[in-house]
Amino acid sequence: MSAPHQQEPTDFTFDADSEAQIAKIVARYPEGKQASAVIPLLYVAQKQMGRLTGSAWVPRVAMDAVAVKLSMAPIRVYEVATFYFMFNTKPMGRFHLQVCGTTPCWLRGSDDVLRACKDAGHLKGYGDTSEDGLFTLSEVECLGACVNAPILQVDDDYYEDLDYDRTVKLIESLKRGERPAPGSSIGRQTSAPEGGPNTLLDIPMMAKE
């Protein structure tokens, strides 16, 4: 896993897993409108890179492969891939740490989460990839989970209700190769009130419990 200094690959072919997904995705669109599948296919390519090289990004050759699959001009794929923030056009670390810094998270302590990421992951700041190739740090806009702010998104998983210590703990376990269960780090059920129900307690059914 030498992700951070990974060379631009010179070729890219979809593996069997990806091909199976692609067949399913492309079939969703009517004949002649296959170009509509460009975003899902870019995801497939990015995931495959993550699976095979430990660095989930879309190199140019992968975009070209998508273009061939969908009979598009390569530049049309480049345009889409560079437009969306979710596609990484540069090599990434094994884990993509995405810190939400939008107002609710920020008010609830996203600065601490960021600090924890930098300290535990040995990262200099946003956009940086750690020396060991494990982490890449990004700032993202609102992840839409403000009730459980602050949020740290690791690849596709949300870790919620974080503070400095719990973030460090999370990153340490990632380093050990563990993948803690996503969700609230203080054990709350989805986005239910912290510490159990605190409204509508006078309803008999609720009070009983």
Partner: protein, 686 residues
């Protein structure tokens, strides 16, 4: 039709027209950057805002369809304010480098900022800067100046058919480019410079050369391909500084091919600027009287049948006519303008013209291309085919080279003449497609008849056209695509072997003792039999000049008043933009003076006399800027003369960039040839 009122002026425009088009119909000028009438509508610059009654806010007129009874205001307070503010936004990131910008003086942004903008900016932050992109040897980029109108992206994708340009990134980081560093693979890249409304894409050869107000502008005609695009030659003093296209809807719309546009630096190199005479095996400088007397001394007393003349590909009709008159006066019938050996007999004009007309491509509904690669041979015409193909329902097929990228989908039927047979006897599936079409077109490359069985190919193509119903009184679907601007004119002037005259092969193999080459560089001069006395009259020291015994320096197409006929038979006039260099002279005058030296007084003293003579010889030359259009009166085909050999058709231009003497002298073209002919870098996508 919809009735629209623009600033109180009522106009009627077709339903589906945009408000901007309605405003233009009413004679109102609407500022715009991203809108271009030949490209799709993007609507992203917002400069064309107008006020529409009952609309709550200004609307982008380029993307807003008209409705019956609509009232539009193009000069209200709201509109003026909106434009001022749009302009202020556009200028936020645009550098104020007009003094060092090549677009300065002919810049849409500059002009419209003055006309519609406010006098200053309120922006006090840092401007963004964008790295310049490499788009090839012809287009220079200064991407910081880009206002992201995406005209270039749409031109490359829609007109040129090379979807290689795009807008990557988003918002502040959006950039126009190819993403992968590479030269744009199109022969129409110069048009990007014209359509760019700012100084982001400018001409690399013209960089820091001149300002538009210093230039003398001469309307002329491009002769480097057979399309005959309308051009404007911009000069300063004795120098051609650039060539740009003019609009001619029937021919080139407003586009132009790169070879015609950028090869003008070849007009300054390798020029023949004084007469030369070969003495003791070496070419030595001479004066005009010496050279002409030398020729007269050689030719006097020589029987006419031992004198021959070959006309080149870029010659004007005037000089061809004059040389024919001289040769006939000397008693020679050995005339030849088919340097490539094309088997065209010249007896009937529609046997060798692009009869449907270039504008006629818009009406065609099926196309068969035989032995031609129009993308290289006539890029602008190819763009027209692509435009027609884009609008749908036009199947295209090719016979000839496999794997051509024509920028549109074409079915490849085969490489050789066998397919022609199959189409003729109806056994090929495409014969049915052509037969069912209402206005089928056949394009026969000139190269396809420049071979042993050329006459048979020509006859077969004509027969096929007749069979599929392409030859009717209303529609002429037989088309020959020539390669250079002088070829049709020479055929029209009848510069062909007369009675008992010899053709090129006969003249080269010792059939004549004296050979007059009028700009004829299209064949290998080593083929000329060693004892032949060769007179080369032309403008460039190209292949043939080194073989010459006497060199008479002539004028290039920018240096004389000349008549040219394009591939569709349109007679057009090129104009003198600069004078020929040194002692070089107008070609018909040289021929006349040579005649005098030999004691032959040709019956013309002025250009008007020459042109009157041309018209008398062939009335088509009187129809300047026009062409005889229409269907076929007589479906009799050209004489077959032999059978189809079955060999494969070959490419007609081996190197697009170096196809003629002017381009071969051009450094710009040499660089293009080097870059575009280099083996393409293998890409994983392929």
């Amino acid at each position: 039709m919809a009735k629209v009122t623009i600033d109180g002026i009522e106009v009627e425009v077709p339903n589906g027209a945009s408000v901007l088009q309605a405003c233009e119909a009413a004679g109102k000028e609407i500022p715009r950057f991203c809108y271009h009438e030949r490209l799709s509508v993007a609507g992203n610059c917002r400069m064309c805002l107008v006020e529409v009654e009952k609309a709550p806010k200004p609307v982008a007129s380029c993307a807003y369809p008209v409705a019956d009874g609509m009232k539009v205001f193009t000069d209200s307070a709201m509109v003026r304010n909106a434009r001022r503010n749009v302009m202020e936004f556009l200028l936020i990131n645009h550098p104020l480098d007009c003094p060092i910008c090549d677009q300065g003086g002919e810049c849409d942004l500059q002009d419209q900022a003055v006309a519609f903008g406010r006098d200053g900016s309120r922006y006090r932050e840092e401007k963004r800067a964008v790295k310049d992109k490499y788009l090839g040897p012809l287009v220079k980029t200064i991407m910081t100046r880009c206002i992201q109108c995406t005209r270039c992206v749409r031109f490359a994708t829609e007109v040129a058919g090379v979807p290689e340009l795009g807008a990557t990134g988003r918002g502040e980081n959006m950039q126009i480019g190819t993403y992968v560093e590479k030269a744009l693979t199109t022969e129409l890249s110069g048009n990007l410079i014209d359509i760019c409304p700012v100084g982001a894409l400018t001409s690399r050869p013209y960089a820091f050369v001149s300002r538009p107000w210093e230039l003398r502008k001469t309307d002329s005609i491009d002769v480097l391909d057979a399309v005959g695009a309308a051009i404007r030659v911009d000069t300063r003093g004795p120098e051609v500084l650039r060539i740009i296209p003019r609009t001619n809807e029937d021919v080139n719309e407003e586009w132009m091919a790169d070879r015609g546009r950028f090869s003008f630096d070849g007009l300054k190199r390798k020029r023949l600027d004084r007469p030369w005479i070969r003495r003791e095996g070496k070419l030595q400088p001479a004066t005009w009287p010496e050279a002409l007397e030398h020729i007269a001394g050689k030719l006097k007393g020589m029987p006419g049948s031992r004198i021959g003349a070959v006309a080149g590909d870029l010659v004007d009709v005037e000089s061809v006519y004059a040389l024919k008159a001289l040769m006939n006066a000397l008693g020679s019938q050995n005339l030849e303008c088919r340097q490539d050996g094309a088997k065209i007999d010249g007896s009937r004009r529609d046997h060798y013209l692009f009869n449907s007309g270039i504008a006629g491509i818009d009406e065609a509904d099926a196309l068969l291309i035989i032995g031609s690669n129009p993308r290289k041979e006539a890029p602008v015409l190819n763009a027209r085919i692509r435009k027609r193909w884009n609008s749908g329902a036009m199947p295209v097929a090719t016979i000839g080279e496999a794997g051509l990228d024509l920028t549109y989908t074409a079915e490849h039927l085969g490489e050789g003449t066998a397919v022609l047979d199959a189409l003729l006897d109806g056994s090929h599936a495409f014969a049915k497609v052509l037969g069912e079409a209402k206005k089928p077109m056949i394009i026969l490359g000139r190269g396809a008849v420049a071979r042993e069985d050329g006459a048979a190919v020509l006859a077969a193509a004509w027969a096929l056209a007749n069979q599929i119903g392409a030859l009717t009184p209303e529609w002429h679907g037989f088309n020959m695509l020539h390669l250079f601007g002088g070829q049709v004119g020479a055929l029209d002037a009848g510069f062909l072997p007369g009675e008992g005259g010899q053709d090129l092969a006969g003249m080269l193999s010792g059939g004549v003792d004296a050979l007059w080459l009028l700009g004829a560089d299209g064949f290998e001069p080593a083929f000329i039999s060693p004892g032949t006395f060769v007179i080369y009259q032309g403008h460039h020291g190209d292949r043939a000049a080194s073989r010459a015994d006497v060199i008479l320096p002539g004028a290039a197409y920018t240096e004389k008043e000349g008549t040219y006929v394009n591939t569709e038979g349109r007679v057009q006039r090129g104009r003198l933009a600069v004078f020929p260099p040194g002692e070089a002279k107008e070609d018909w005058r040289i021929i006349r003076a040579a005649g005098v030296a030999m004691g032959v007084n040709l019956p013309f003293d002025t250009l008007e006399d020459v042109r009157a003579g041309m018209v008398a010889a062939n009335p088509v030359f009187g129809l300047v800027d026009g062409r005889i259009a229409g269907g076929v009166q007589d479906v009799a085909g050209p004489a077959a003369g032999g059978t189809l050999s079955g060999t494969a058709f070959k490419a007609n231009l081996t190197d697009y960039w170096l196809a003629d003497p002017i381009s071969r002298a051009s450094e710009t073209m040499a660089e293009c040839s080097r870059i575009y002919n280099a083996a393409p870098v293998a890409q994983a996508a392929e």
